[in-house]
């Protein structure tokens, strides 16, 4: 038989929205030539709930539970991000104790989220056991969330100006015990996969992103640091108590799936280190600022000092001057487990935000899937999706 007789046909495969390895409702349209992907078109928006539009109709306090639903695997960090932005807008100074509690909670959420990531990512690639180990440990953390807030996933625990309620010694003991044991547990996961030949073959050299590309594509978090770029919001633009604790930011080298995996594994240990320091340094004192926003808000709770707004030259028009004084805006971001989670709030002197924009890392990360996948094999799509760690709730908002 001659080679000419073989018919070549391009095949279009619809991966998702109900595919277990897409971690939610992501739909990828793949154009294949044999096993090789020629074109990859992601479709998102299946989980679009219009959080940005809804929050324009709610007060600042009421918007807080909405932020839980942005990234449902690490809702604590979302709450903190929103609170940090509103506090910055209104000039509320958070008490020290609340800052430390929030830092602690945010790192717990990071561990939680990374545990789900290692569980599902390993499961997708074929290492079943890690899933059970990671889920077992996550359960302990979720129980601790329940102890402080009454909820396991959608916690709504931080408040604008502090946190909802104080933590007690029982909780701290439990957390301390967990943190003491945790680094050993991470080693346990690593013994399962670190030198597993299948794992290495499926991750090393797959989905390589160079440092320059990573910055240009707007990646953040461990996905960016896997490519060797040192950028972490906690270090660059510190918030809460991150200035007062000591931690390293792990950075990868090659920018492949394996390096991103290593970065997250090392972050586990850093998070544990931060929590330990927070428990040791936790100061006494109030947990809510005196001028914090209350649930029953008067018509116009904001007293933004107009002296804070500095504008020079070019403005003679009275109307424009009034406009600038009316609409004040801030952008504040936090380091969520997936990357930089930013809140851009425009405020118009009423009790509701005029516009709230959520800069979600997953949205950006999902956007690079075509560049990552084109030219690679179908099986690597799974490894790529897992390694950029997207949550579709955050992607669609």
């Amino acid at each position: 038989m001659q080679n000419n007789d073989i018919k070549v046909k391009e095949l279009t495969v619809n991966m998702g929205p109900q595919h277990p390895a897409t971690h939610g409702v992501l739909r990828l349209v793949l154009e294949l030539e044999g096993e090789v992907i020629k074109k990859c078109i992601p479709h998102i928006g299946y989980l679009h709930r219009g959080i940005e539009k809804l929050s324009e109709d709610l007060t600042y306090v009421q918007s807080l539970p909405l932020t839980d639903r942005i990234d449902y695997l690490s809702s604590m960090v979302n709450n903190v991000g929103f609170c940090v932005a509103v506090e910055k807008l209104m000039g509320i100074e958070v008490p020290e104790r609340a800052k430390f509690i929030r830092t602690m909670m945010a790192e717990m959420a990071r561990i939680c989220s990374h545990l789900v990531w290692i569980a599902t990512h390993a499961l997708d690639i074929g290492a079943m056991t890690v899933f059970l180990y990671a889920m077992r440990d996550r359960e302990e953390l979720l129980e601790m969330f329940e102890m402080v807030s009454g909820a396991r996933l959608t916690v709504s625990y931080p408040r604008v100006g502090g946190v909802r309620c104080d933590i007690n010694n029982r909780f701290l003991d439990k957390l301390y015990n967990f943190i003491e044991k945790f680094p050993k547990k991470v080693e346990e996961y690593e013994t399962l996969i670190n030198r597993n030949r299948i794992w290495l073959k499926r991750t090393k050299g797959v989905g390589v992103i160079t440092a320059q590309e990573a910055i240009n594509w707007g990646l953040t978090g461990p996905t960016l640091r896997g490519s060797g770029v040192y950028y972490d919001v906690r270090k660059f633009f510190p918030y809460d108590a991150y200035e007062k604790v000591d931690f390293d930011v792990p950075v990868g080298k090659n920018g492949d799936v394996y390096d991103r995996y290593r970065c997250r594994m090392l972050e586990f240990r850093q998070s544990a280190r931060i929590i330990k320091q927070c428990i040791e340094k936790l100061p006494e004192g109030p947990i809510l600022a005196d001028n914090a926003l209350r649930i029953r808000m008067p018509e116009s709770p904001l007293k933004i000092d107009k002296k804070d707004i500095i504008f020079e030259i070019y403005i003679e028009d009275k109307q424009i001057q009034e406009f600038i004084q009316k609409f004040t805006e801030v952008y504040a971001s936090v380091e969520a487990p997936r990357g930089e989670l930013g809140f851009y709030i425009v405020c118009d002197d009423s009790s509701k935000p005029y516009r709230m924009r959520v800069r979600a890392p997953s949205f950006v990360h999902a956007g690079v899937l075509p560049k990552l996948c084109e030219g690679s094999l179908v099986a690597d799509v799974i490894a790529n999706i897992g390694s950029i760690d997207i949550v579709l709730g955050e992607c669609d908002r």
Binding site: I44, G45, H48, G50, E52, K53, L54, E56, D57, K88, L89, G91, E213, I215, N216, W217, G218, V229, Y230, Y231, F236, F237, D308, I309, I310, F311, E312, I313, Y314, I315, I320, F323, I324, K326, F327, T328, E329, V330, Y331, S333, E340, G342, Y344, V346, Y354, R355, R357, R359, F363, V364, A366, G367, V368, K371, D396, R397
Partner: protein, 177 residues
């Protein structure tokens, strides 16, 4: 570099284009006319000492009834090398609702601009693939505009595409039986 210094530097270089700049809580935003926004952003990206290599966010704000021109397209820029941040805003009127795309400067802008188009109906000239991204392709209206209602104006009615979908499903089921 201090954000206030950056803003001053730009307003001196592009004095024709800069309308005003505001500093609030250690953040500076600079408001521009839309015509040369790409040129200024390219300057911000490539000038040594500034080097805003990372586009954090691109979005828009609708000031319906408060100001003319109606929209602001907002760019948040960060320099990973120098650790500074700045906000650039370009005014876009409703009648000529378009602005230059910055996809060739930062690849991130691709999806951000698609979302911006989807939510506000602002066109980005030179964008490689300007389609709706979060809403369905046949959606009418732009949800984040201020004149778009939060509650649906359909009342008890259903979205047309959903109706069609149900009918097709019904017909398919009957056929199968």
């Amino acid at each position: 570099m201090n954000p206030a210094e950056i803003v001053k530097k730009i307003s001196e270089k592009f004095s024709e284009e800069v309308l005003w700049f505001v500093c609030f809580r250690d953040e500076c935003s600079i408001v521009l006319k839309k015509e040369k926004v790409k040129e200024i952003l390219r300057y911000l990206k490539n000038t040594p000492g500034l080097e805003f290599d990372y586009l954090v966010d691109l979005t828009a704000v609708d000031y319906l009834g408060f100001r003319e021109p109606r929209f602001d397209v907002v760019y948040h820029l960060t320099s990973i090398k120098h650790r500074h941040r700045i906000r650039v805003k370009a005014q876009v009127p409703e009648k000529d609702c378009c602005i230059d795309s910055v996809t060739d400067l930062w690849a991130t802008a691709n999806w951000f601009e698609r979302e911006c188009f989807d939510m506000f109906g602002i066109h980005f000239n030179g964008h490689p693939d300007l389609r709706r991204i979060l809403m369905p392709e046949d959606w009418k209206g732009f949800p984040l505009r201020k004149d778009y209602p939060v509650r649906s104006d359909l009342g008890d009615g259903e979205w047309e595409t959903y109706k069609e979908l149900k009918e097709t499903a019904k017909a398919w089921k009957e056929n199968a039986e």
